[in-house]
């Protein structure tokens, strides 16, 4: 059927199909389910997973040492009492945002092209949020009492202090994780049924069978299913915005110059989607090459993502600009000092790194040629990932290291344990991603087939 039937003005009608030519339902089934079922390119997988797993061990070591000695093994101090842990937390949460954004937000906008990447990005969301959620726990001075942040009738008669953004964080992150999981799983059920019906061995049939809850594609089930899925998408979209807004408020609520700014929530959300899409590119580009999924994740997909990358990049750039502007217009000594100190103070290399990575580099995407060259996109996406981490680092550290009273100004630099924990979390993320592509169809078979056959989008 003509695809134009569902085209919305939001994307210009494009002659270029979102699916490669000559796709049949069976071919989609075969190609996509091949990856988890027959485990092609085992060397790529084992090497990649191996490296990731080693990093996970690094993480475990770092965490053990942390619990043994205390957060003093990190570089944090007074005045810079937050360091890598919070930086990593914000960074990972940000990465986690692309997933739900793509699956939910683009779904509401009838962006067909989301179909081929939503499964992967939702998985990415889950794993990123898992990595993120780890850090607020680890950075506690007494992690064994983390549960005091939860409301339960303790024998002290005490409750969490609801005015603290950290409590908001607890609820925002856990909600975000749960909702993403539900959204992801509901989308997965029909595909699990496909796997059940294609798995080579009885055991795997049974496992997939249990996971698919006995889904049988009943027309009336599809009716409930689509409604629920759509509403979930409708819920997830404001959720995405709220979560990183809350994270932004961790800083905005504080009175620290460089944190205390109303621009933070939107600017954090944009940054989150920015870094999220960068990570999507970082993952999909090699993946589609290795597993021959170029028919489903076409160059056009990459180009569209590149465009979003550039757009969000501009919002982030605006955030940087507004920092200077607000500082200037506030006329406040302390506020004015911060941006200047960021750009010219002890942390100028970090600051200019982030400006280059997040503002200058994405400008390359003006050129279609570059948007169309996966290799270049891959490099750019890596740079943006780096840039966004550094941005969070700069926000956390440079604001704290010189705040109000000059006598207590200080410096921060990460120790080897800071780095080990950070690198380790990256390892954890990729290890989980490898397991995901190994056992679960990384593209939604059902939606693909539907698009091929009817040109419809799930709604």
């Amino acid at each position: 059927m003509p695809e134009s039937r569902y085209n919305q003005p939001t994307v210009p009608p494009s002659a270029e199909p979102l699916v490669g030519p000559g796709e049949t339902m069976e071919r989609i089934n075969a190609t996509i389910s091949r990856v988890p079922l027959t485990h092609p390119a085992p060397r790529f997988w084992w090497i990649g997973f191996g490296i990731a797993f080693v990093l996970v061990l690094v993480l475990l070591t770092a965490v053990s040492w942390l619990f043994l000695k205390g957060v003093g093994i990190w570089g944090i101090n007074i005045p810079v009492a937050w360091g890598f842990a919070i930086t990593n937390f914000v960074w990972w949460i940000g990465i986690g945002h692309a997933g739900t954004f793509i699956s939910a937000f683009l779904l509401l906008l009838h962006q067909h092209w989301r179909t081929s990447i939503n499964r992967m990005t939702e998985a990415m969301t889950l794993f990123a949020v898992a990595c993120a959620g780890m850090f607020p726990l680890l950075h506690l001075g007494r992690p064994q009492y983390f549960y005091w942040l939860l409301p339960y009738p303790d024998t002290m008669g005490l409750w969490p202090q609801w005015r603290s953004p950290l409590v908001w964080d607890v609820f925002a992150v856990s909600t975000y994780f749960t909702v993403s999981l539900i959204f992801w799983y509901i989308g997965l059920i029909p595909d699990l049924a496909v796997m059940r019906d294609r798995a080579p061995t009885l055991l795997r049939r049974r496992i997939y069978g249990i996971l698919s809850l006995g889904w049988r594609g009943d027309g009336r089930h599809w009716r409930h299913y689509e409604k629920a899925y759509l509403i979930l998408a409708g819920l997830a979209t404001p959720l995405v915005v709220s979560v990183h807004s809350v994270v932004g408020m961790d800083f905005a609520v504080a009175i620290v110059p460089g944190w205390h700014s109303t621009i933070f929530p939107p600017y954090f959300v944009a940054g989150a989607i920015f870094s999220g899409f960068a990570m999507v590119l970082t993952i999909t580009i090699p993946l589609r090459a290795v597993y021959g999924l170029k028919h489903y994740i076409t160059d056009r997909h990459l180009e569209l993502m590149a465009k979003i990358l550039m757009a969000t990049g501009w919002i982030v750039a605006y955030g940087y600009f507004s920092e200077f502007f607000m500082a200037w217009i506030s006329g406040d000594t302390f506020e004015r000092y911060i941006p200047i100190n960021r750009a010219t103070g002890a942390y100028w290399p970090e600051y200019w790194t982030l400006v280059i990575c997040n503002v200058l580099v994405p400008q390359a995407l003006w050129w279609r040629r570059i948007r169309r060259t996966p290799a270049l996109l891959f490099v750019i996406s890596l740079l943006v990932n780096v840039g966004m981490w550094v941005e969070r680092y700069v926000i956390v550290v440079t604001s704290l290291h010189r705040d109000f009273v000059p006598s207590s100004w200080g410096m921060f630099s990460g120790t080897r344990w800071d780095w080990a924990t950070f690198i380790g979390s990256v390892g954890l993320f990729f290890a989980l991603m490898y397991l995901f592509v190994r056992y679960i169809p990384s593209i939604s078979i059902t939606e693909m087939k539907r698009m091929v056959v009817t040109g419809e989008e799930t709604e």
């Binding site: 003093g72 001075g141 064994q144 303790d154 202090q161 953004p165 009273v405």
Partner: protein
């Protein structure tokens, strides 16, 4: 999964119910620096921990809490040591001079020292060293047993040895027998030595101190700063480094305290080379090397004589000298000229002459008889004399008691080599120090809180030093050792001291008098009366040499550990030096000019040369230090001080010559390659044009003070504080920055020592810090001190962001910090604009079995790793005071509750009290026009506010000096090394 009940989370404290009398053993593990890698962590342990953390298994707390025991007395002592603190009046010796104390005892453990208000040289105040003295009692490195050639032995063996020696000496009337002590003011010690000399007529007594003697030819200078309108201080740090500094500070600050908007302020001119605390209080300060100082003094004299003052001075100096001379003549006789004890004799004589000339003698300048003992000159001389005697073979048995000459002797005496020539060497000391290892026998010396003794203060007031605890180890006091040497087995210190005073003050009911002395802490009628000084009519003229040396090195005792006697005291090591904010080290203080010329930054090594002598040390740039001077401090580079004091900094004694003790001319000083690691608690010394420390001119405080604290409107309804409203006021006009408050707080609130490495990481734990800022010309800046405790904001930013309500506001306006609820997010610290919160990044507490726990205040929780802490206004004292009042069904009286910092402050700069009572002292002081709140524009509504720093500049000089605009300093700061110093070499 841990307990939902109150967690047994390691925030523990010494048990209040268990009476502690003595400690069995003292641990040998006291890491002065909490190292990040424990030595004893085996691979296996580590894997276990890994496994545990992987499973995140927190099994503790799932069983019913274990039983604790409670141990009553067999027979209760007559004063039940149940719980409440008991205070004893005693005294300590500050380099030989007495300072009256009120010592607090909890369950029989001395835990805190404060000044004895009745004592004229203490007036209830203390300095930092006094506060730290209690820690030395529990120093795990203290010497615990007698030793022979390093091997522990018991007392009996030594006694045996000595009996034979004693017999031999008796036979030859003590020929070759010598005793070396510090100069002492203790009547009992003196009596014992005299008795020893009586028994052994040919024995000799030598005295040695590496520190200055505060008396000259049998008299002491004394100054009355209450009457001095104009003060000229020449190399005199009388506010910090003087036996009478507490009394002087009280008097000096009294003339800087604004009352009802007015102040009759004194004016302080300082001529000095190195930056001192007194110099930091100066209204006009002229940095000058000893040589240049002579020119200035000559010029002053000329100006007084209305002669041309000579043109070898800079414009600023000329103006200042003229203004100073005019000031002196105008205000005479209520003026005083103070020359430091380290000054050369001619300068001190010059000062005397000026005082006489201005008729200050008998008005502001007085004379006291020396309280140093041996009035009948039975002392055979100083260390040099002793060394000569050794070389002449006249000393065969040497007792070195209570001093450490092997370390503190000037290099040129080569005492160590001399000492080897002595056949029998016996040492008495609190530690197995450098001298102990060079002796055959070592006897542990008792701490002054363990033994009976007596001491006389600078003004002669005698005090009985009474112990609060029986000796922790097999130690002897100096008196006891002397008595033992005299007539083995010797007698108990108590009897000896009583005997002395019974002889001095025979009376029918001596028992009663004696008890009276013990209660009041001073022996009445022993205070010397001041007399009008009678110096030689015309003092010897100043030798002003035209040719100045390349550089003059000034050698001074360290502000915190002095001559090294406090080197093993962690509190003093970690106390930021009053003149640099540096900790755990000494350094070569160089001038800003030198640093700029040689492009130095802090820590760069500098080498001094004097003939063949070399001294290399890391440089510390000291703004205000005279351009052609270098200052080095004694007390560091020790090798046998203990685990805290060993191998820190460099040994300045190696560069000291016995005839040039305090300053020496060098032909060469130059940067050497290499960089040392110096650590300070403050790295940024300009205010960046921020309104941090406000300054008011004494002439018109109300006008210049600027804004009154304004509370901006809040979106929220105000909370009401129905009962007490605790508040604090800190008077920057009177505060001299001596940092006694810092250590008082440390002692009161169980604040741990974290070590140099952790301080370098920005993790020092002091609840109250004293910031110092430089203003004006970096070459000779105005120094501003600002003590910063928790401000107890009414709209506290820290409380709002705590996720577990571990810090909330009390109904009396305190910003409560609940350690056992804290999970350690550190958000509160980030959100504290004053950065007064401190975090236990690691376990900073000593090992469980360390004697240091005996010092802990049982009323304050010992904080566990991972919890935040901060100043509480000494809430334990508030609670105690409130309970007392409520039991009597009355309100707390004004002044009844005093914070530890307030107790210690010699300047009475800290006032604490109840705002709800408009007549309370704090309410009245807060009504002064110079009051302001730090960062008031944030509308945090601090309960702690300040009175502006007071400056009383000579109108003739205002405007002429280098403009004092913060921007200037920042501009200055933009230049190489200055930037690296003034504008934070943070990296």
């Amino acid at each position: 999964m841990s307990s939902l009940a109150q967690p047994a989370d390691g925030t523990d404290r010494p048990h209040r119910s268990e009476p502690v009398t003595t400690v069995g053993r003292a641990t040998d593990e006291f890491p002065p620096e909490a190292s990040v890698w424990p030595a004893d962590l085996s691979r296996r342990d580590f894997l276990q921990v890994m496994a545990a953390s992987i499973a995140l298994a927190e099994l503790s707390g799932c069983n019913r809490p274990p039983s604790k025991t409670i141990v009553p007395y067999v027979t209760a002592p007559e004063r039940a040591l149940a719980d409440g603190p008991v205070y004893y009046a005693t005294a300590m010796s500050w380099e030989g001079y007495g300072r009256g104390l009120l010592a607090r005892s909890n369950s029989g453990r001395p835990t805190k020292l404060d000044g004895n208000p009745a004592h004229p040289e203490s007036l209830g105040a203390t300095d930092a060293i006094t506060q730290a003295a209690v820690l030395s009692l529990y120093d795990p490195d203290r010497s615990k047993t007698p030793r022979y050639h390093g091997a522990p032995i018991d007392w009996a063996e030594f006694q045996e040895q000595w009996l034979t020696e004693h017999a031999r000496l008796q036979a030859n009337h003590g020929a070759g027998f010598a005793v070396l002590t510090e100069p002492t003011t203790s009547p009992t010690v003196t009596r014992m030595i005299h008795r020893l000399l009586d028994r052994f007529p040919s024995a000799r007594w030598y005295q040695h101190t590496p520190l200055a003697r505060y008396d000259r030819d049998g008299r002491q200078d004394d100054y009355d700063f209450t009457r001095a309108d104009v003060i000229l201080a020449i190399e005199a740090d009388f506010l910090l480094q003087h036996p009478a500094s507490l009394r002087y500070t009280r008097a000096f600050s009294g003339r800087r305290r604004i009352e009802n908007g007015r102040v009759n302020a004194n004016r302080l001119y300082v001529i000095e080379a190195g930056p001192t605390l007194t110099g930091s209080m100066a209204d006009h300060r002229l940095p000058a090397s000893p040589h240049h100082a002579r020119r200035l003094l000559a010029a002053i004299e000329n100006a007084l004589d209305h002669r041309p003052i000579g043109n070898d001075l800079s414009a600023v100096e000329q103006r200042t000298v003229e203004a100073l001379a005019a000031d002196l003549q105008a205000k005479a006789p209520n003026v005083v000229c103070v020359a430091g004890v380290e000054c050369d004799d001619d300068i001190r004589a010059w000062a005397d002459a000026i005082n006489v000339r201005l008729h200050a003698d008998g008005v502001t300048w007085h004379s006291l008889p020396s309280v140093r003992s041996d009035p009948d000159r039975r002392c055979a001389g100083d260390l040099a004399a002793a060394v000569r005697a050794i070389h002449d073979g006249q000393i065969r048995t040497l007792i070195i008691a209570g001093c450490n000459p092997a370390y503190t002797a000037p290099a040129d005496l080569q005492f160590a080599t001399a000492l080897e020539k002595v056949p029998l060497r016996i040492h008495l000391g609190t530690h197995v120090d450098e001298t102990a290892v060079a002796c055959d026998w070592h006897i542990p010396e008792s701490h002054f809180l363990e033994c009976w003794s007596d001491v006389r203060a600078y003004d002669g007031t005698a005090s009985i030093i009474q112990p609060l605890i029986s000796p922790l180890y097999a130690s002897r006091s100096l008196e006891e050792l002397l008595s033992f040497l005299n007539e083995p087995p010797g007698r108990d210190g108590y009897d000896l001291v009583r005997e002395t005073w019974q002889a001095n003050r025979p009376s029918a009911d001596f028992e009663q008098t004696w008890n009276g002395w013990l209660n009041t802490g001073l022996v009445d009628g022993t205070q010397n009366s001041r007399s009008k000084p009678s110096p030689p009519a015309r003092a010897v003229g100043l030798q002003t040499s035209t040719s100045a040396p390349a550089v003059t090195v000034l050698i001074r005792p360290d502000p915190t550990i002095r001559d090294g006697r406090w080197a093993n005291n962690g509190w003093l090591q970690e106390l930021p030096k009053q003149n640099s904010q540096m900790v755990w080290d000494n350094a070569m203080y160089v001038s800003l000019a030198f640093a700029e010329r040689e492009n130095l930054t802090n820590g760069d090594e500098v080498e001094l040369r004097r003939g063949s002598d070399r001294l290399r040390a890391p440089a510390w740039i000291a703004p205000g230090l005279a351009a052609d001077c270098v200052v080095i401090h004694l007390g560091y580079g020790r090798t046998r001080a203990g685990r805290v004091g060993d191998n820190r900094g460099f040994d300045a004694y190696r560069f000291r010559r016995s005839h040039r003790l305090w300053s020496d001319d060098l032909d060469h000083v130059a940067p050497a390659h290499g960089h040392g690691w110096l650590v300070s608690t403050q790295t940024h010394f300009t205010m960046e044009g921020r309104d941090i420390v406000r300054t008011a001119s004494a002439a018109d405080p109300a006008h210049t003070a600027g804004l009154r604290p304004r509370t901006e409107p809040s979106l929220y309804p105000d909370w009401s504080y129905p009962s007490y409203r605790w508040a604090m006021l800190i008077d920057l006009g009177t505060c001299i920055g001596c940092k006694a408050c810092v250590l008082a707080c440390q002692a009161e609130n169980n604040i741990p020592v974290v070590g140099k490495d952790q301080v370098a990481r920005g993790r020092e734990m002091h609840w109250i810090r004293v910031d110092r800022y430089f203003e004006g010309d970096p070459q000779n800046p105005q120094v501003l001190h600002q003590p910063v405790p928790c401000m107890q904001c009414e709209t506290a930013p820290c409380e709002l962001v705590c996720p577990v309500a571990a810090t909330v506001h009390s109904s009396e306006g305190l910003n409560d910090m609940v350690y056992n609820r804290c999970v350690g997010t550190r958000y509160c610290s980030n959100n504290c604009p004053y950065k007064v919160r401190r975090f236990n990044f690691l376990n900073f507490q000593p090992p469980k079995d360390s004697p240091l726990y005996l010092q802990k205040n049982p009323d304050v929780t010992v904080r566990a790793r991972g919890v935040m802490e901060k100043c509480t206004y000494c809430v334990q004292r508030i609670d105690a005071g409130r309970i007392t009042a409520e039991k009597a069904n009355r309100r707390v009286r004004d002044g009844e509750i005093r914070t530890a910092c307030q107790d210690a402050c010699p300047a009475e700069a800290i006032v604490f009290g109840d705002l709800s009572d408009p007549q309370s002292l704090v309410s009245r002081r807060k009504r002064e026009p110079t009051e302001y709140a730090l960062l008031e524009e944030l509308n945090t509504r601090p309960r702690t506010t300040y009175l502006a720093r007071l400056r009383n500049q000579n109108p003739a000089l205002v405007g002429h000096e280098v403009p004092v605009r913060p921007n200037d300093t920042t501009n200055h700061a933009a230049r190489g090394p200055v930037r690296s110093y003034l504008a934070a070499p943070d990296a």
